[in-house]
Subunit: 157 residues, 2 copies
């Protein structure tokens, strides 16, 4: 599945500033996606079986948190592409509310830190905070991620 | 894909102690898995196209960090099952080295904190640190995760 052609232009370290904000389009999460992901990576009753899930504390089928994280990555690539790649070094995530089948999720994000490398002129670490929200505005994931970001190559290079 | 039948017994809050350690069996990561995951969630050249990947700073195809996280979840369920479910509230991850095709990855973990809930007698938050390592002992992911863990239900309940 290629990314949409009308994606915004890719940003480089030169373009990054604390407070830079972005938001993306919603994605509807299908029950079959939730089950397929979880059967592979997180095969617990509340992720793979709607009937069993209804008897758990969640009261119904919910997506694995790692599925929410993976979908958020896709939404991040679409909403905030980075030149030479979106390369995550690590980060901190939380899942304050679950994602359920037919939820429409979207991301809202902001650059919270920009640190040029001391040892390499061509790169830096950019910290990006995203909230992934459902159609009711409930936050289903917060993520603070450190990304390796390169400078734009000069045209004469 | 059900979990293996010879999985260790599920642990409850009653069984959790700081310093409790566990380790799991290796899982070999196939190139097609890396590509399939990334085409869906992280379709960047270094994750989906071996030829293009060889021209990037990674020098070849690598797994999406979220794929490594998802595989680690599966390995965690197998090595350290938790009664009533392994429910992640959030955590902190880093990917100090990439996962490549045909790597055999396994996890090693430890309980680093156990905090019974003040408001609910039947549960607590358990912090689990895992390292995911490849066949050379390189750490490909560190994860510190906060899990919601329930007490064992008493037999008279």
């Amino acid at each position: 599945m290629p990314l949409p052609r009308d994606a915004p232009p890719a940003r480089y370290l030169d373009d990054m500033k604390v407070g830079l904000r972005f938001a993306g389009d919603p994605r509807v999460v299908q029950e079959q996606e939730i089950i397929a992901f979880a059967r592979q990576f997180d095969p617990q009753p509340f992720h793979i079986d709607a009937a069993l899930a209804s008897q758990t504390l969640f009261g119904g089928l919910i997506a694995s948190g790692w599925h929410t994280a993976a979908m958020t990555m896709r939404l991040l690539l679409e909403a905030f592409p980075i030149g030479d790649g979106t390369i995550g070094l690590g980060g901190e995530a939380a899942w304050p509310n679950p994602v359920r089948a037919n939820d429409a999720i979207h991301i809202e994000g902001e650059v919270s830190a920009v640190k040029p490398s001391r040892s390499h002129d061509d790169r830096g670490i950019v910290t990006v905070r995203t909230e992934t929200k459902n159609q009711n505005g409930d936050v289903v994931q917060t993520l603070t991620a450190n990304l390796l970001v390169f400078r734009r190559k000069s045209k004469s290079a």
